[in-house]
Symmetry: C2
């Protein structure tokens, strides 16, 4: 009793005339293909896909929730990213938000809109990617929704629990804390530059652009180690730390020498005449974690990269080697910079 899709323009994700598209499948079959029957979801899932909602038992009564949409042509291009990678990325970027709260990621629900003529193969590959990343993240895929749309839109909502801990907010950084990062920085931006130039190598950078390497489990580790503030690096380290600086009313002073620039990032920077530090500091989409800790030992694998200070007269900001960074700081979907 609702309006049907007005039809979609042809794209790479669509089947040629006569090929096996989605039109012959009902909505429920599509959901089954996407989310499966919830088997392997783990003991926390009391009710999996197939009812009006899923029921998951958390470790405590506090639930952490985050949602993000990925849109074809905005967040990914189907000619640069395979369906498997798009499915993996959609899960990764959302679970990353739960990590950044210091929580344990528990489950996800996935709403997928696709053109009516999308090949079934594309959908199955997408579902394979979703399930693979859920397994990597240790979360259950507990529900979903499928509908038609002129282009692919994937909206994932992830949730997690805190096991009685307080969430690690953006507002908790204090002067005297140290700044530390965990995960890759600059790799996704290097991969994007590589693809834009029409190359496929360095493969490690391209792979990092296609599927972020989220340091799963490190959010809760940081929380247990006393992290005072945390964020995941989606827009770029400087841009994201700026959110933390403002929320905490502090200034960050990063040490450029503290960043180990990885070989693939260095190679792309050299080939494109880019400052490698710019890729590290301003390159988005790596989904590393950045956190502040009181002075003392950091958890294994976390790298100290700067310190937290009282803001100067111009207010909270992020400095690099005690000076204002003069490059681009990050990405904004609607901005014009």
């Amino acid at each position: 009793m609702t309006e049907r899709s007005a039809g979609a323009s042809r794209s790479h994700a669509q089947a040629p005339d006569g090929a096996d598209g989605l039109g012959g499948l009902g909505e429920f079959e599509l959901i089954d293909r996407l989310v499966g029957d919830g088997q392997g979801a783990g003991g926390d899932v009391l009710v999996g896909p197939g009812d009006d909602g899923a029921v998951v038992r958390l470790d405590g009564p506090e639930v952490v929730v985050s949602t993000d949409a990925l849109v074809e042509g905005v967040h990914f291009r189907c000619d640069w990213s395979a369906a498997t990678d798009i499915g993996r990325k959609a899960i990764a970027v959302n679970v990353s938000d739960i990590e950044a709260m210091g929580a344990r990621p528990v489950g996800v629900v996935v709403a997928l809109s696709v053109p009516a003529h999308t090949e079934l193969r594309w959908l199955d590959d997408f579902a394979t990617g979703v399930r693979a990343e859920c397994a990597a993240a240790g979360v259950a895929l507990v529900g979903g929704d499928t509908t038609s749309a002129p282009q692919v839109v994937v909206t994932v909502t992830a949730f997690g629990d805190l096991a009685g801990r307080a969430a690690v907010l953006r507002s908790g950084a204090r002067p005297g804390d140290q700044v530390a990062v965990r995960g890759l920085l600059g790799w996704s931006a290097a991969g994007l530059q590589t693809l834009r130039r029409g190359f496929a190598s360095p493969r490690a950078a391209v792979a990092a652009h296609r599927v972020p390497q989220v340091p799963y489990g490190e959010g809760a580790i940081a929380a247990r180690a006393g992290a005072t503030a945390m964020i995941d690096v989606s827009d770029g380290l400087l841009a994201d730390l700026d959110h933390v600086a403002r929320a905490s009313a502090v200034t960050f002073d990063l040490r450029s020498s503290a960043f180990a620039v990885a070989d693939p990032v260095r190679a792309v920077a050299a080939a494109t005449g880019t400052d490698p530090l710019r890729l590290v500091l301003a390159g988005g989409e790596d989904y590393a974690l950045a956190a502040t800790f009181p002075p003392g030992d950091l958890p294994n694998g976390w790298q100290a990269v700067g310190s937290v200070t009282v803001p100067g007269p111009d207010g909270p900001t992020v400095l690099v080697d005690s000076a204002t960074w003069d490059g681009s700081t990050g990405f904004d979907h609607f901005g014009s910079h």
Copy 2:
């Protein structure tokens, strides 16, 4: 560092050249416009919008989660539904799923994709509708995401708690139970027929099509009253009860005389030469609740409409006056009927 939108075709939701579109707003300002600062969200919300995730305290460690996407041109038309109504509907249809689990709806997150040239007025009206329906449903808007896309896509994820009760599943109906409904049936379908004919009256039916009248709070009431199975009526009563029949391995026998056909439904049926019972039984999008209860008293306002029996040789099904219904049973986004 991501791909920008390739640009969107002009639509009714877009601003004329030179008008105030979204292009001048950053993603964060857009999110603020959409979700606000979480004030008025209630005491259960420990962390509202503005961090990587929201934190909500539930009444017990079990969380109920459901997600649904609404796509422009598929689920709504901007020339038939005002932005306010689209916002309200997006919340209503998702919270309805939480009701149908017998849970208390607690919160929602909203992911909104809109064309870059959408008028700010449209966004503000959408946000007004979202907040109004959240207030009606008694849920907190705890987070969101905004991004550009060629057309409007709204994905809402709703969650709730069970206060120690078991969820009411589709699989729990037993022979001997009675079938009951709570809420409007046929009104949305009548409203859609009205709009298709180019009329605006009966207004009550048109309003019910634009914004479903979810019987908020009745899901938990039914659960406490011992409901054995429950579903919300999105595709049409017969279609949705068929899901329950299959999940429970039972047959439903509905009594056509038990349905009180409301005046607006009767009026539209008469004007279009439609059997009013068809609107009631097969009209979707009303988001009434249908549940099964053991014999005995029903909660206030629930209407007994049939009984649960052992399936015949052809297996679980839904009968009307002990016979197979020969009209259309409901709507499927990808189906061809």
